[in-house]
């Protein structure tokens, strides 16, 4: 028995060895680092009934990406390269990059995805499907819209960072955290919003501030670029198609309605009774919005309750901060400002008839039976139009900053 076992062992070893050899020789899934084209951003357009995809590939040999803008030490080769391809489907376009590119496209590090307005008007569902289905296309990319041609955006070099895709991601993250005008939208969040009961979503716009595209490294060797990347308006999608734009102020109001405010700056008039001059600034540090739908007779009333608190940062008029009355006056002023924002935004949204505020989800959660009825009648659009909002804002100025009187009030003249 022992001898037999010994032979069986030997046999097993003999069998395993060739297996390992085959494993070594035919490593099916490995990709060397030098074969990869690391895509840091992608853009999609719809032109002449064809998908046009632009990919931005990082150029590793131009030094590690990091700080270091123009200047003598920078290399001559640009930090990234772009490829533009066309195809009947998106994957066909992607695969056609193999006709021109030296390296295999590696999209797992892609940061951003820019959709051209043409794609948005046509319908985004095919694109979203690609992102959710393909194994190495991450669904955590940030989505943007560009007016006109999206591919051009990817050509623009950025200062202070060599990886443009990562740079744009940093931009939107920072903005949504510090400014709260536009929410940062990732692909899966987009998919979630479009597949929820509301059926609508928003996407921030990215644009170039100037006319020219800075796509040569020599051009970026200046201190003040004539044309930079910036965030613009907010695009609204209903179903899978784009239906309109929201301006900055309207977008800001929308953020209040959807309770996505993290930190925001509000400029208000410190003495609203005497003058309309906007000369004060307030940073809203915490804010929460609660929505409650109430059914009244034949339509819904959304009770919007916005609470917030923050710190004063700038006062341009005469003001004594130890005076309780002037503080509540300022608070009132801020509250009015926010109310105005919210009303403005709501009107715009109603006009577009897209439920980006997420009211449908709220109604489903709180009022199930009526929602079932609405769903059966497919009457959400009409119901949505009839919703009126009742906003209440209550802002508290918690801290005044480091000085307790405005500077103007101690000026002698």
């Amino acid at each position: 028995m022992k001898v037999q076992k010994h032979y069986v062992n030997k046999l097993l070893c003999l069998l395993i060895l060739p297996l390992f050899c085959t494993l070594l020789s035919g490593c099916w899934d490995d990709r060397e680092l030098s074969e990869l084209g690391i895509a840091s951003g992608s853009a999609y357009d719809w032109e002449d009934n064809q998908w046009k995809a632009t990919y931005q590939l990082v150029n590793p040999s131009s030094g590690a990406s990091g700080m270091g803008g123009g200047g003598g030490g920078s290399s001559s080769s640009p930090p990234f390269l772009t490829f533009t391809v066309k195809g009947k489907t998106i994957m066909e376009a992607i695969q056609r990059t193999n006709l021109t590119s030296v390296r295999e496209m590696f999209t797992s590090h892609s940061r951003i995805s820019i959709l051209g307005e043409s794609v948005a008007r046509k319908g985004v569902n095919q694109l979203i499907d690609l992102f959710l289905r393909k194994q190495d296309a991450r669904d955590t990319v940030y989505v943007f819209i560009a007016k006109g041609n999206a591919g051009k955006i990817l050509d623009q070099l950025m200062q202070l960072t060599k990886n443009q895709g990562a740079g744009i991601q940093l931009m939107i993250e920072q903005e949504s955290k510090l400014l709260s005008y536009y929410p940062s939208v990732r692909m899966f969040e987009l998919a979630m919003a479009l597949s929820s009961e509301s059926g609508s979503a928003v996407i921030p716009e990215i644009l170039l501030t100037g006319k020219e595209i800075m796509d040569e490294t020599t051009e970026t060797g200046r201190t003040d670029l004539p044309s930079r990347l910036a965030l613009g308006r907010l695009a609204v999608l209903k179903g899978e198609k784009m239906v309109g734009w929201l301006s900055q102020k309207q977008a800001f109001g929308l953020t209040f309605l959807t309770s996505k405010i993290k930190m925001a700056n509000i400029s208000f008039a410190t003495h609203p009774q005497t003058s309309d001059k906007i000369d004060g600034s307030f940073i809203l540090q915490n804010s929460a919005t609660s929505l409650r739908p109430i059914w009244v007779k034949d339509h819904y009333i959304m009770d919007v309750n916005i609470k917030g608190s923050g710190v004063l940062t700038e006062i341009g008029s005469v003001m004594d901060l130890n005076d309780r009355a002037s503080i509540s006056q300022m608070e009132k002023s801020i509250e009015n400002y926010v109310l105005e924002l919210v009303e403005n935004s709501w009107q715009a949204v109603k006009q577009l008839n897209a439920d980006v505020t997420g009211f449908a989800v709220k109604i489903h959660r709180s009022d199930r039976k009526r929602w079932k009825q609405i769903k059966k009648d497919k009457s959400w659009d009409t119901v949505f139009q009839e919703i009126e909002i009742r906003p209440h804002v209550s802002i508290k100025i918690e801290r005044m900053g480091l000085s307790n009187k405005s500077f103007k009030s101690i000026e002698q003249n």
Binding site: L19, D29, L132, T140, A191
Partner: protein
């Protein structure tokens, strides 16, 4: 603990999608229902084991009733276990191929997995149990990571509204997880190796509770992150959630890490099933030593896996609909029948004892 590994790995992969498509937000309820039923099954199995006090299952049946019945049962069970093992292997390979290794041919992966598992079974159930306890310990490391990473994304409101769906849909949704829970019947074959067969019922319960907690945890967190509709899309929702985790700027795309851990767990599950198959074989055909047969059985499983289940749609449908019937028959009705027979026998022998 072995019970946990028996049920959990494939459950986490396959079930959320199925339950989600039926029940959406009410999935936690469906899971609870199925666990309750699972308790019943565990009680059944535990009782049987207590009666036969740790003897091997088929031998005991043969002693109680006729040996022919035992062989017949053995053949049926053997076929069942072979089938189940093949489906597990298929799911394993499918999953790995989908997420990690896209281009590697299935044959290579199957062979590798088989070789490893055959080695594992040769070493014996003791080693498997020991490694199992180690692997479950490791789980403790992953849970905080998971929670910490996802804390920002979770939104409790997405769990509402509950009770949106009718009881019938919930029951429908809970059928498949019940069939999974019924895999606890594998204790029947592990019985000879348990240290204390009296505690078999307790072991079944504890294992089921643990599985329940894990499933709830995974289901609830996934729903909190994604919301019920999006859940229907993804094939492997648990792992998609992990893919979103982004801690700081440098830790992202962790799903590969979790997948690696899952690979460890599924190896264990597959080896447990292979072990059960071998045990069944050993008892049916009354062979003393199982060493040479492990390889042969493994080969059979591999063949079945490769050729029968080439179509993932078929596998999905089987998971959704067919599996329930099969599992119910073998994991519930069979032990029930055995228990009844046993009860009758005991009553008869008691009567006989009283008479004489």
């Amino acid at each position: 603990m072995l019970v946990v590994t028996t049920i959990l790995p494939t459950a986490i992969v396959v079930l959320p999608e199925i339950i989600g498509s039926y029940a959406e937000q009410d999935s936690p309820l469906a899971i609870s229902l199925s666990t309750l039923i699972g308790f019943g099954i565990a009680a059944l199995v535990g009782t049987i084991i207590r009666y036969n006090n740790g003897a091997s299952f088929l031998d005991w049946i043969g002693a109680r009733s006729s040996p022919l019945l035992a062989t017949l049962l053995g053949l049926l069970l053997l076929q069942y276990y072979l089938d189940t093992s093949a489906t597990i292997l298929r799911e394993f390979v499918n999953f790995v191929k989908d997420t990690v290794l896209l281009n590697t041919p299935i044959t290579v992966m199957t062979t590798l997995i088989l070789v490893v598992t055959i080695y594992m079974v040769r070493q014996g159930i003791e080693c498997i149990a020991r490694v199992n306890s180690l692997v479950i310990l490791l789980f403790l490391f992953f849970i905080p990571l998971y929670l910490f990473g996802l804390a920002g994304e979770m939104n409790v409101h997405r769990l509402l509204p509950i009770f949106d769906h009718s009881l019938s849909t919930i029951t429908l949704a809970s059928l498949t997880p019940t069939s999974w829970m019924s895999e606890v019947a594998i204790l029947l074959f592990l019985a000879p190796y348990l240290k204390s067969p009296q505690k078999a019922r307790l072991i079944g319960y504890m294992g089921l509770i643990f599985v329940f907690l894990m499933m709830m945890f995974s289901m609830i967190t996934t729903m909190m992150v994604f919301g019920p509709q999006y859940l229907k899309l993804t094939t492997y929702p648990g792992f998609s959630t992990v893919g979103i985790i982004q801690i700081g700027r440098f830790v992202e795309n962790l799903d590969i890490l979790f997948i690696s851990y899952w690979v460890l767990a599924i190896y264990l599950k597959f080896s447990i099933f292979l072990f059960a198959t071998v045990e069944c074989f050993k008892q049916t055909f009354r062979v003393k030593s199982s060493r040479p047969f492990i390889g042969a059985l493994g080969l059979v499983i591999a063949m079945e896996c490769l050729f029968t289940w080439t179509d993932p749609a078929k596998l999905n449908m089987y998971n959704r609909e067919g599996r329930f019937l099969v599992f119910m028959v073998f994991n519930v009705l069979l032990p029930l029948a055995v228990l009844l027979i046993n009860g009758r026998r005991q009553a008869k022998s008691k009567r006989k004892g009283c008479e004489t």
